[in-house]
């Protein structure tokens, strides 16, 4: 593949990575740890929200993040024609 196209493909990949990793950081380290006391003031059913993110919500989000990345990259691979045979 020509250099220019490869550079663009890589740049888009990096922008996906950065946005998804920001979400990764916010739900676990943000909601589950740094902001846990503030969020614990909010109750959802029997859960304090910060506690819920630390023991449940962050894990569900992690799963979703991976599948979103897979879908984004499969589309990008097709667009740039870098799919494997």
């Amino acid at each position: 593949m020509e250099q220019g196209k490869l550079k663009e493909y890589w740049k888009i990949n990096l922008s996906y990575l950065i946005s998804l990793l920001v979400v990764w950081f916010v739900v676990s380290f943000g909601f589950g740890i740094l902001l846990v006391d503030q969020l614990n003031a909010i109750h959802i059913g029997g859960f304090k929200l910060g506690f819920w993110f630390a023991q449940q919500g962050s894990i569900y989000t992690f799963v979703v993040l991976i599948f979103v990345y897979v879908a984004l990259m499969n589309r990008l691979d097709k667009k740039f024609d870098v799919l494997e045979d």
Partner: protein
């Protein structure tokens, strides 16, 4: 049938299945032996990865730890799942594109240096042995508790089973056995959890149940738990007591460590394509999440059940499971105030683990010779492993569920042990013998040496299982800390920075490892008396120091690489080719 014969039957059937799979999946080439021929479908690879990842510790100990730690236990939940996001996004697809067999392969080739390869081999072997000794011990514990055989006999039976399918089938045999083991272990984990959720919260979904109201009308479960904790002097269940900075650093070290563990990374060499590597990390995390989101629910249910059953109850009126588990030494009661009732409050009942005198008190309790503590009123010693092991009995579940838990614990321990043993044998046969000592070795002799290496590794692991070094529990922090401070930065920089050269990588790995190891050794072995928050650097415990080691590694690599020459042209081209999937082909040795 009684519990004993049911357990023998169920464990026996699962073992026969594992052996049958091993015979069917015999490896014929080094490629099949190291990476299962690179042809494992992503969903199955996800299941195998999940079984590989979830060890005896995840299955037996984790819910118990969370039960006693409350919110603080979240470090394990987030730490041992969040790493898969890093794997899927930052590591797996590129390493699959690279297309070799091992992590030292990547380090050695990308940094055009056998010194870097050697450092990587040593780390891989050290990390894997640390882990595998604990697994063998777990096998022995399950055998001795449920089948009432001697713990050492249990370990030897476990060694024989692993020997059979790891030596014969290599990665191919291990992968397909792990798929079966995953099914056994997740079924065994979920069944008691669903029963207990029905009993306590009235819903079959434990993840919802632990945020629900109690069936007996006592309000929300977690509010009730916090109330009980306050009454008894424990820290609030949903708040915990660790400092925030330590929770942050431990979680980060566990996440990054997970993404840097060689036996996890190697799983992504076994799928056919780059896109399969991405999605199989997703499948793996789904399968892992099933257990990891259930564990905190079990933890809360069990905590509530335990406090309600024992707190301020007369010893003579306790249910029979209490006596059963007292018999195994996982529970002990010292009636400090002589009122015949159990006081369960904050504090240690006596110093250390219970040392039973062999005599019984007037109520029939087993007496201990430990010196009782006087600064608190607590009278109850509880081993954390009891939460999962005794759960079915505490909830009065049928005998077949108890038998199932035994089979599940064994599946968890055996599947992880096998994955680790393979990393050790690959490091020796492929990275050391083929790549360094004897490059001209034939395919057939390499396969033979891989098989011999697995066999030797099993014997060594079994030895450590039978004679556990006292520090096994202490060195787990090592495994994650070292993986976080060495492999993770070196691989990330190898993919994302073309300018990174061998000088930077080696300097970074060495400073990261030395800093992390020195900190852990100092606080765990040299001066354990100082292992308290007021002496820690920035309040970071040895469990979390790998995060700082990783940051140091990144910083040193960056500075050193800028002061030394750029890597050769062909390495920069190699990095370019890692970055897009086309032309990946199959995993190959050359």
């Amino acid at each position: 049938m009684d519990v004993q014969s049911l357990t023998y039957t169920i464990v026996g059937i699962t073992f026969l299945i594992y052996i049958a799979i091993a015979v069917w999946a015999k490896a014929g080439s080094t490629k099949e032996f190291y990476v299962a021929g690179g042809g494992v479908p992503p969903v199955l690879n996800g299941m195998a990865t999940a079984a590989d990842w979830m060890s005896a510790a995840s299955f037996i100990s984790m819910a118990g730890l969370i039960s006693f730690m409350g919110y603080d236990g979240s470090v394990y939940l987030m730490g041992w799942t969040g790493g898969y996001v890093l794997l899927a996004l930052l590591l797996a697809p590129y390493l699959r594109k690279f297309g070799k067999f091992t992590v030292p392969d990547f380090v050695g080739d990308r940094y055009y240096s056998n010194a870097a390869r050697t450092v990587a081999i040593i780390c891989a072997i050290f990390v894997s042995f640390t882990y595998v000794a604990g697994q063998m011990r777990g096998v022995g514990v399950v055998f001795s508790r449920f089948l009432e055989v001697d713990i050492n006999t249990g370990i030897i039976i476990g060694m024989c089973i692993v020997f059979f399918y790891a030596v014969l089938g290599g990665m191919k045999g291990i992968t397909y056995t792990q798929v079966a083991q995953f099914c056994v272990l997740i079924f065994a984990y979920m069944v008691p959890a669903i029963f207990i959720s029905m009993l306590i919260a009235g819903t079959p979904i434990p993840q919802i149940g632990f945020g629900s109201e109690l069936v007996d009308g006592g309000g929300f479960l977690l509010d009730r738990l916090n109330g009980l904790h306050e009454e008894l002097g424990f820290a609030s269940y949903t708040d915990g007591s660790k400092p925030m900075i330590d929770v942050f650093f431990i979680t980060f070290a566990l996440m990054v460590g997970t993404a840097g563990l060689p036996h996890v990374i190697v799983r992504f060499f076994t799928v056919p394509k780059v896109r399969d590597a991405r999605i199989s990390a997703g499948w793996a995390l789904i399968f892992i999440s099933l257990l990891y989101t259930t564990a905190p629910a079990i933890a809360a249910f069990a905590r509530y059940n335990l406090i309600n059953t024992v707190s301020n109850q007369q010893y003579s009126e306790l249910p029979s499971w209490f006596k059963t588990w007292e018999g195994t030494g996982l529970l002990a009661w010292a009636d400090k105030n002589g009122d015949g009732a159990i006081q369960y409050v904050k504090g240690d009942p006596f110093a250390g683990k219970p040392a039973f005198t062999g005599e019984t008190g007037e109520l029939g309790q087993r007496l201990v010779s430990n010196e009782t503590t006087t600064d608190n009123a607590n009278e109850l010693y509880i081993d954390r492993d009891i939460i999962v092991l005794a759960n079915p009995e505490i909830a009065k579940l049928p005998a077949w569920v108890i038998a199932l838990v035994a089979a599940g614990g064994l599946a968890a321990a055996l599947s992880t042990a096998a994955g680790l043993l393979l990393v050790i044998s690959t490091s020796i046969a492929h990275d050391l013998i083929k790549k360094q000592l004897n490059p001209g070795i034939s395919e057939k002799s390499e396969l033979l040496s891989a098989r011999i290496a697995v066999a030797i590794a099993i014997v060594v692991a079994g030895y450590f299982g039978i004679n556990p070094p006292g520090f096994v529990a202490q060195v787990v922090a090592f495994a994650f800390g070292l993986a976080a401070a060495s492999f993770f930065p070196v691989i990330i920089l190898g993919i994302f920075s073309k300018r990174m050269n061998k000088e930077g990588a080696i300097a970074g790995m060495l400073t990261g490892i030395i800093f992390t190891a020195a900190y852990i050794i100092y606080f765990k072995f040299v001066n354990p008396g100082m292992n308290k928050p007021e002496f820690w650097l920035f309040g970071i415990s040895p469990e979390g120091i790998g995060t700082l080691g990783m940051l140091i590694n990144f910083a040193v690599s960056f500075v050193v690489s800028r002061l030394t020459p750029a890597p050769p042209q062909e390495i920069q081209e190699l990095v370019d080719s890692l970055r897009y999937p086309k032309g990946a082909g199959e995993a190959s040795a050359h």
